[in-house]
Subunit: 387 residues, 2 copies
């Protein structure tokens, strides 16, 4: 198996981009990544996108987007695992380069979510849950995560103030990220006084609906060293996937994200790393409770200690282990298919030492954790500066 | 790169399966493939499916279907390239085993197309075309392929009778395939007298709407030999992907499927084979003209000679190079996401010598060609009996 490096990254400015199409924002990020990598051809384009069928009425993005880039002819593929589609695209590109089937892969993620109205967006997102046992009975994602939050509160005494602290931290980080959807400072009071969406989750406990795209270029470590000049070469040392029951009703324990734990264990094993080795982490904070549970599942904190860790500042930019320096899904935005690639782009930015005001000093090992549905799937990657 | 073998295959009986859900037909084929392989655990499940969001309102099949199989926890992914989604799933599993990331992969394809009405199915399928430049202006797939047919007729003198001969041959083959949707003998007159759908394509020039699923189990050649006993071990020796412009308006030549040609060239190169080496072929006959153009693009016949080759019997079961012994999409049915995997399953059946009345005698090298949209993407695999 060949060693794989990330040699270029690109993102568009996330937001509600009424004047731009899926193709346009995707191409912006793809061109940025190719330019950053210094390459003008690739062996494969892979695209993470959750539901272009429901959001923009267009499947077959492999052909649509290779063509949009002026690269018709080049192999291309789309992958989907709900909101973990971006992480799955990264895995797909990793396997292609590791196997030797491809030398250079453009890994991308995209979602255009604001071309439909709110109800249709809620329906489209709901297809990530079990439609037969959850969706058709009326529940949507805020309700599913609210049940996880209630269980966590019941078992561990997690408080609404602690959940609010996640939003406060991530919005503070997002202020420092020029690509973020929101540049907006919020307080614990702001969160607690915002509209209740699904008790105990307020509006500011929820990530937004976002148009956005992100891209990274993968190649062999050898070629990456040739291309990178004086910049650090960032390698992917661990890649782990896992699933869990699709419906919450079949979970043995609502306070643990088993797919995240399994995916992280697989990634740690491949990388020969453990949670204590990490310097910077991006996790899938689609809701504030999701960040808390994800940090527990990847082993940063013991079960039940994820919420107090945020409140105590352990995961802030200057804390023991900074989590979501990009602003996370909460503040950077959550274009669902793009998120997993954007997380990897942030970790690469941090490991290169190019994160500006949000730089985690001396970071050389990072982790990106992406998740689908209410934890029905998860994908974890570990990235490191090559020695 | 490790050598990869197909060690198990499974299919459900294709058809309009009103009483079965996507999950059920998928699980039928998955269990059949696992049983055929003699394995009860896998490292990855990959699922080719074009549009579960539009056809059944359910994305996130990675979680849904791993769970349905009683394998929640196991890594899973879904891939999509319109009607080439099944071929893309095969490529994904191939890369995973070749790289060493996974030792055993369950590669599956599925589509449940009859849970929506005809207009909604037409819309869903239409998302494989360029919605901005084709779909929104009213054209659907029979119209797109009719334009290809007209161009081919104009340039090469291809006739409606020759196209009808494709349907006659494939329906004759489908009579011998117990999994086929139709067991129905048709004559050239039957085809020419059937309803005109989009001139020059009659109803019997078109593949049907189908519910179906197919699965194959991939593993290393070494493990396959242990598992296979006296049965021949079938290896994947070539895998090629390609794209073309999504819209026909941007093609330089409407009489050639460039993505198919490119994908085939890549697969031949990897396998070290040429068209003359093949003993049996499955191509993507979503319309009769598609089979003609595909056989030209993969190099079985010179451009312009694909149609007369069918009429002359060269591609029939006893011909020089049998094409679509399974009955093809035309007679076996075309559950779009399943088709690419079903094609591979047929080639494996042939190479094992287990095809019964439709057996191509002495076949040891075969090719499967899967296609998305009006040729916007294509995926070609070459399979061979291991020495």
């Amino acid at each position: 198996m060949r060693d794989v490096a990330v040699v270029g990254i690109g993102m568009n400015d996330f937001g509600e981009l009424w004047k731009k199409s899926l193709r346009t924002i995707w191409a912006e990020s793809a061109f940025a990544a190719l330019s950053d990598a210094g390459v003008d051809s690739v062996d494969l384009i892979t695209i993470g996108c959750m539901s272009p069928g429901l959001f923009v009425g267009q499947e077959h993005l492999s052909s649509v987007l290779a063509d949009e880039l002026g690269m018709a002819g080049v192999p291309a593929s789309r992958v989907e695992s709900a909101c973990a589609s971006g992480g799955l695209a990264l895995r797909t590109g990793f396997a292609e380069v590791a196997s030797g089937l491809s030398d250079t892969v453009l890994v991308t993620g995209v979602e255009k979510m604001t071309d439909v109205d709110g109800a249709d967006a809620t329906y489209a997102l709901g297809t990530a849950a079990d439609q037969e046992w959850e969706g058709f009975h009326g529940i949507t994602f805020p309700g599913l995560y609210a049940m996880l939050a209630v269980a966590h509160m019941e078992k561990y005494g997690t408080t609404s103030e602690q959940l609010a602290a996640v939003a406060v931290k991530n919005h503070a980080n997002g202020l420092l990220n020029p690509h973020a959807q929101y540049h907006l400072k919020v307080s614990v009071e702001d969160v607690l006084e915002s509209t209740m969406v699904a008790d105990p989750l307020h509006l500011f406990d929820c990530s937004p609906v976002t148009d956005g795209a992100a891209a990274v270029v993968l190649t062999t470590v050898e070629r990456a060293k040739e291309l990178s000049g004086d910049r650090p070469v960032v390698t992917i040392t661990g890649s782990g996937l896992a699933t869990d029951t699709i419906t919450l009703a079949n979970r043995e324990d609502l306070t643990e994200l088993a797919a995240v734990r399994l995916a992280a264990e697989r990634a740690y094993k491949m990388a020969g790393r453990k949670p204590e080795d990490l310097h910077v982490v991006e996790v899938h904070d689609c809701f504030t409770i999701a960040e808390v549970m994800a940090t527990e599942a990847i082993g940063l904190f013991d079960p039940g200690y994820g919420a107090s860790a945020v409140e105590d500042g352990l995961t802030s930019l200057q804390g023991k282990i900074p989590v979501n320096p990009s602003g996370g899904l909460k503040s950077k935005g959550h274009p669902v298919g793009a998120t997993g690639v954007a997380q990897a782009a942030e970790i690469v930015t941090q490991l290169r030492g190019e994160a500006g005001q949000r730089q985690v000093e001396g970071a050389t090992i990072g982790l990106a954790q992406n998740m689908g549905g209410s934890g029905g799937s998860s994908i974890v990657h570990i990235l490191e500066v090559a020695s």
